[in-house]
Chain length 188, copies 4
């Protein structure tokens, strides 16, 4: 079985995911720059998710570059990863529309975590398919640390993001954004 | 004629199909986890259709892997399969918005069946194009059973799904979901 | 310059075009099969446009299969064809929402015609890039008839379609469909 | 690392961007050609953005054709370019809905400029990855002029466009379009 079609299909799905997220950035009704203010959290969420999907695409690219053999199990593990990535537009939209409220942010983080787990599962499947003396196996290592590190790495980013949202900016900025949104809703 | 472009085009169409189905998962208006309850049937339908499209992509991948020659008839049989797959987002949306009511579920099953038939027709076209001593021909067999088994196999899944929906969960769960939706509509 | 990327990009654009047309098939509000009646013209238009885009993809596939050299002019002629194809979702939606009224049907036909002309221009560009003793040049011929026949061929289909819509079915069917739509609007 | 997947992913993202922009061309409610009048600015903006994305795809195609080596930095510089291109549907929609008002047009121009800068950064990354005696390096040149010219070239187009919009057509045309839009809003 050849890997080129697995790559092409993954590229297609990730390309659509990354692009339909931008549909959430709806053109505002006013024609002044003030009309863009309520879009700030939507834009920030889009940037975050874009970077995230970009990291996955880059990692996927590197991992499959050193993959020689693809099995049925790899195909399904890959679809499993694409499933969690495909939920990014939904969780991004929900989080941004609610100005990073706790429940939507938690669900956003949960989907990020599931994608990280799915990535590790895919990595395991690929290593198993290549055999124990494969390039990928040696690159990643067979120890506990090597297996879990991508999860930790990928989980660190949403934690950093949440810290950024909840600690660094004082409430005044957030309030200004929320009020911008409220005013806009009232004026409609 | 080479098969790589047939694969690339099919990958593109299937990638878009699998991804636009997630657009049906619209961000709810509330910011609590309770706001997600009315989305449960939509999410379940999305998972089901995702798995289904995934099965088709996997099977398509395997079948074309052992295909050497592509004819004009194969191109059209492939487009015919893609046509029925392209109706999945519509039937999935209608079924999930009506909490698996009988008519939308029947239409969903009908499109699944047509996709299964289209897959078998594509398989026939490909076998005919390869010649009688081809790898695919020997792999599938020329008997009645070999030809019909994919239909039976693919039709078994929606049947299992319908059983799951109508038999296993008692009505209380379904009612809770429906009421969640009603409450949400009223509160809007 | 290699043609594989031209093919891949065209496949991507055509795959998205063919799939977003199905977004026009919006899930109806009722859960009975009667709710599907107002969707009949939308579905028929989708089938027509799907077949049309399929014809273009097939022809494009064949033409590029015998193409050896790609120039900058070919890239732009290809983008020009994709531009007119990209208007199909719009013209299909407008025509189907107005039950094949004359103005939307004329615009639909106009875009079909422009796509046919763009296809012939692309063909000319490709032949010019290959040189006069190329395979494609000999396959198509340099005479007036060979150049114009794709336009005639492609223009014949919408004419046949219009005849089908306006001549074959008597008014009673159309009225039933329209009334189905009216009833649905009133019940909303 | 091979460049084919970078090309495939970029093709996928650009194909989706170019196609979802057409979703802004929503089917009007009336069935006469007069119903198309308010769509004129939307259509013009679509043509402009289509041409723009087409220019980027063509340039990207040429640049990667002479690229031999791809590094991690090139992958990220490419994602950065795709990010700014992905904002085209939003800025196009906002500009066209406000009939080329100054703020939306400025934001549209700003995103064009950022895309031009991202393109130059990608070019720098690619040249750095190839080494100083590479084909691309010699083709573009190492001087200040060679580096900045794409920005100037790409920035010249929106300037020309703005001139076209604000200088050439007298106000009567614009007023007619705006009034067409007003009338349509009132009749809804």
């Amino acid at each position: 079985m050849n890997k080129s079609r697995l790559e092409a299909f993954s590229d297609g799905v990730i390309a659509v995911i990354i692009t339909i997220m931008v549909l959430e950035l709806k053109a505002p009704h006013g024609d002044g720059t003030a009309a863009l203010v309520p879009l700030v959290p939507v834009f920030l969420s889009y940037v975050l998710s874009f970077v995230y999907v970009g990291i996955y695409w880059n990692n996927h690219h590197h991992m499959l570059h050193v993959t020689a053999k693809v099995t049925g199990g790899v195909l399904w593990a890959n679809l499993h990863l694409l499933f969690w990535l495909s939920l990014f537009p939904f969780t991004t939209a929900w989080m941004s529309e609610n100005h990073f409220a706790s429940a939507p942010s938690a669900i956003y983080g949960f989907v990020l975590l599931m994608a990280a787990i799915a990535y590790v599962l895919l990595q395991q499947r690929i290593i198993a398919a290549q055999g124990s003396d494969s390039l990928l196996h040696r690159a990643i290592g067979s120890d506990w640390k090597g297996k879990v590190s991508p999860v930790l790495y990928l989980a660190a980013i949403p934690l950093a993001f949440v810290s950024l949202i909840w600690l660094v900016p004082d409430r005044r900025i957030e309030r200004a954004i929320t009020e911008g949104g409220e005013l806009r809703k009232r004026s409609v």
